[in-house]
Symmetry: C2
Subunit: 171 residues, 2 copies
């Protein structure tokens, strides 16, 4: 519904842009939260939150790695991971121990319980896929699109941060 009149003025092109913009950012925001909600319901059985599930996914494939590497896989920093891992440890799913080689580093390792949880998690993807109503190809296409988007956005955010030089300085 773009054509609605605006109280006290006509539509300039900028007005349309502003409305269109709402559609985009809001759609992604809403989709992300909707996804989160479905995961919440399904992961409740496993006693995991959505981000915790992401961490477990990585660990189920790597089985042992330092917090730093974990953060690179998930694009999360220690400010997010430290308390999250502490909760996973309290739940008995992982153990954290400082590396003997480099005492700055902390190795995260699955416990037997953590490994065992993988079996129960195997049913999750099917239930999620069913919830989306999308088939495998559609999901793959969407994923590729989102990855493009993320790459572009990350590059833009990086370019944005340092300086606001109007004159072209580093592209």
């Amino acid at each position: 519904m773009v054509g609605t009149s605006y109280p006290g003025g006509m539509n300039t092109p900028d007005d349309d842009w502003l409305r269109l913009d709402q559609q985009i950012c809001f759609s992604l925001h809403a989709a992300s939260r909707a996804f989160n909600g479905v995961y919440r319901g399904i992961l409740r059985d496993l006693g995991l939150t959505y981000p915790q599930y992401l961490v477990m996914l990585v660990l189920w494939e790597h089985d042992e790695l330092p917090v730093k590497k974990l953060g690179e896989h998930l694009r999360l920093d220690s400010g997010t991971l430290s308390p999250l891992l502490k909760r996973l440890e309290a739940a008995g799913l992982v153990r954290r121990e400082r590396s003997a080689r480099d005492e700055r580093s902390v190795e995260v390792r699955l416990t037997g319980e953590g490994v065992a949880l993988r079996r129960r998690a195997l049913q999750v993807p099917r239930r999620i896929a069913a919830s989306t109503g999308f088939d495998t190809d559609e999901i793959r296409t969407l994923r590729a699109r989102l990855d493009e988007l993320t790459t572009a956005l990350d590059a833009a955010a990086f370019a944005e941060q340092p300086g606001d030089s109007p004159a072209g300085e580093r592209s």
Copy 2:
């Protein structure tokens, strides 16, 4: 590096599903946060966070409406909106006053300052669009896809909540 083979066994379909699943949920998660990051940089000038910007977008179109309606537009509840609106009010952008007609309801209204901010916000969409590197059609297509997804996910979450799966679930 697990590649496609899994230590000590062949790939069951479930293994692949679990891997694929990581791709999908993670992609959306990452895209959402990447978007958030770009908005953060651009909105800093306006003194708004990303969710606050979404609220302002709605108010710029409606100019006055109760918290309930605002929440329906944004799919947010009072638990999120109340403190957010309190911050917007502290920033001088909105005012909240209980409806005389129905004293349960609180009307949110833009201040002059809030209305004025709209002019400065007009440049935001262009900068965002530039950051994505997508053209208008691509964005529209993606948005439509995401909206489909959200609708399906919401329906699934709603169906999930009330009843328990008939087949035994708790280990």
